[in-house]
C-alpha cells in the first residue's frame, strides 16, 4: 500500500529551509521523484511530509565565476545534458546525464537527487569526482561545503542531516585542452542501472606525454573514489597501449582492495579493465 503524507511546495529556498528546520526529521525532500516515488508506491516511505523543491529557482541555476562552475541541485538530467555552460566546462557530466534512465526519467530526475540518493551506480557521480566536486549544503542555520567523496559515506548513505538540503554542486571547470570520456556497462542501453561506469579527464602535452589524468569509477566501490594509483601510473608517460592496460589492471586491483573477492569478481575484473582501457584509449589515443 502507498505511503501517506502531506505535500508542501515552498515558494523560496528560505521558506524551504524554515520548513526543514521545523520538520526536518519527518520530511522527505522531493526533487525529481524518480527514486522517491518508487518508495511511495511500495509504502516504504515513512515521512509525515514530502517537500517539493523541484521548482525553487535558487536551486536551478548554472554559473561560472571565479574559476568555479556552480550547478544547481534541482536541474534535471535533461537540463544538465543540454546546458551550454555544462557542455563546455563539464562535458563528461553532460554526457553521463544523457545516459541516465530514459527520456522520461531524464526529464524528471535531478542532479541533486542523484547525489542525495547516493546509489553506488549513480551515473553523475564519477563525472563529478573527476571535476573535484564539492557539495554545498544549506540549512536554516547556514551553509557548509563538503567534498563529494566525503558527502557520500556508503551505499545509499550521505552525511546530510535532517534540516539540510543540497543547494549546488561546485565543479572545477574543465580546461579546454582536456579530453574526456564516459563509459558504461549495463544490461541494455536504456533504463538499465549501470553495472559499472567510468569517467575520465586527461591532458596530453605537445610532446605526447600525459600531463594530467583524472579517473573515477562507479558501481564497483561502496563510496565514490578517484583511482589515484592508476592516475599516477599514466602521468608523465607516453600513453602506450601496454601502459593503459597496466593502469586498467591497477584499477581492478583497487576495486578488489575495496570490496574483496566476491562471486562477481571473476566477471567484474576483466570488465572493469576493459572499460577503463576503453576510456583511456578514447582520451589519449582517439580510439575506442
Amino acid at each position: 500500500m502507498s505511503s501517506r503524507f502531506g505535500y508542501g511546495r515552498p515558494d523560496s529556498l528560505s521558506e524551504a529551509l524554515d520548513f526543514l528546520a521545523r520538520h526536518g526529521t519527518e520530511t522527505a525532500i522531493l526533487a525529481g521523484g524518480t527514486d522517491l516515488m518508487v518508495s511511495v508506491r511500495s509504502g516504504e516511505l515513512r515521512s509525515r511530509y514530502v517537500l517539493d523543491v523541484s521548482r525553487l529557482e535558487e536551486l536551478r541555476t548554472v554559473e561560472l565565476s571565479d574559476g568555479v562552475l556552480a550547478v544547481g541541485s534541482a536541474l534535471t538530467h535533461t537540463e544538465i545534458a543540454t546546458h551550454p555552460l555544462i557542455r563546455k566546462y563539464a562535458p563528461v557530466l553532460a554526457r553521463a546525464s544523457g545516459c541516465v534512465g530514459s527520456t522520461q526519467i531524464r526529464n524528471l530526475g535531478t542532479l541533486g537527487g542523484n547525489v542525495a540518493n547516493a546509489s553506488p551506480a549513480a551515473d553523475s557521480v564519477p563525472p563529478l569526482m573527476v571535476h573535484n566536486a564539492k557539495v554545498v549544503i544549506r540549512s536554516a542555520s547556514g551553509e557548509r561545503v563538503e567534498s563529494l567523496g566525503d558527502f557520500i559515506s556508503g551505499p545509499n548513505l550521505t552525511i546530510l542531516k535532517p534540516g539540510e538540503l543540497i543547494a549546488r554542486l561546485l565543479l572545477d571547470p574543465m580546461d579546454q585542452n582536456y579530453r574526456y570520456s564516459f563509459q558504461r556497462i549495463a544490461r541494455r542501453k536504456t533504463l538499465a542501472i549501470a553495472r559499472m561506469n567510468v569517467a575520465a579527464l586527461g591532458l596530453l602535452g605537445a610532446d605526447g606525454m600525459v600531463l594530467d589524468l583524472r579517473l573515477s569509477i562507479g558501481s564497483v566501490t561502496p563510496r565514490p573514489c578517484r583511482m589515484t594509483a592508476a592516475e599516477e601510473l599514466v602521468k608523465h608517460e607516453k600513453p602506450r597501449e601496454e601502459l593503459l592496460w597496466k593502469a586498467a589492471e591497477e584499477v581492478s586491483q583497487e576495486m578488489v582492495r575495496w570490496s574483496g573477492i566476491r562471486p562477481t569478481t571473476e566477471y567484474k575484473r576483466p570488465a572493469v579493465e576493459g572499460l577503463v582501457f576503453r576510456a583511456l584509449s578514447d582520451i589519449f589515443r582517439g580510439e575506442v
Binding site: 511546495r9 511511495v40 527520456t103
Partner: protein, 168 residues
C-alpha cells in the same frame, strides 16, 4: 509556509487545453488521478516504477512517466495526455502513421509511444532514425513491435520520401 494538510491538496492545472481544479490525496500519483478521478484511461499503468513508459504524458511539453509524479506536482502546469492528441474526429498524423504501418499489436503501450513521439516531433520536425530510436527508448512493447513503430515515425520526418504508407 503553513504545515501541509495531510489529507488532501487542491490542485489547478491545464489538462488538454482545459482548466481543471480538484482535490487529491497528497500521495496520489498523477497517473492515478488522471485515470481514476478524471476518467482519462488512455494513459496506462504498466510497471508503475518508471521503467516501461506506458504512462507517458507531456508536462510543459516534456515527456514524463505519470507513475513517477505526484498529482500535486501537476499544479500550475500544462498537461497533455493521449486524449488531447487527436483533433475532434481527425487522428493526429503520428496516430495515422502508426495505423498505416501496422505498428499496433495489443495496443497497451501505444498511447505511451504516441506521447513520446509527440514530444520528439514538437521539438524537431526532421529527426533521424537514430534520434527517433533514442527518443522512444523509454517505451517498452511486450509484443515486440518496435520496427514498425520506428518505421512509422520515420515516415513523418520532414525529409522522408512522401508516399502514402497505406498503399504499401
Amino acid at each position: 509556509m503553513k504545515d501541509p494538510n495531510t489529507d488532501s491538496v487542491k490542485i489547478r492545472f491545464q489538462l488538454n487545453d482545459k482548466p481543471v481544479v480538484l482535490e487529491v490525496k497528497p500521495w496520489d500519483t498523477a497517473l492515478a488521478v488522471l485515470r481514476d478521478e478524471l476518467g482519462l484511461t488512455g494513459t496506462k499503468e504498466g510497471c508503475g516504477i518508471g521503467e516501461c513508459g506506458a504512462c507517458t504524458i507531456l508536462v510543459e511539453g516534456k515527456a514524463v512517466t505519470a507513475c513517477l509524479m505526484l498529482a500535486a506536482q501537476l499544479d500550475g502546469r500544462e498537461v497533455q495526455t493521449i486524449e488531447g492528441v487527436a483533433e475532434k474526429d481527425a487522428l493526429h498524423p503520428i496516430q495515422e502513421a502508426l495505423l498505416a504501418h501496422g505498428a499496433v499489436q495489443c495496443g497497451f503501450c501505444t498511447p505511451g509511444w504516441v506521447m513520446s513521439a509527440k514530444a520528439l516531433f514538437d521539438g524537431e520536425s526532421d529527426p533521424t532514425r537514430e534520434e527517433i530510436v533514442d527518443a522512444l527508448s523509454g517505451n517498452l512493447c511486450r509484443c515486440t513491435g518496435y520496427v514498425q513503430v520506428v518505421n512509422a515515425l520515420e515516415s513523418l520526418a520532414e525529409s522522408a520520401p512522401k508516399s502514402n504508407a497505406a498503399d504499401h
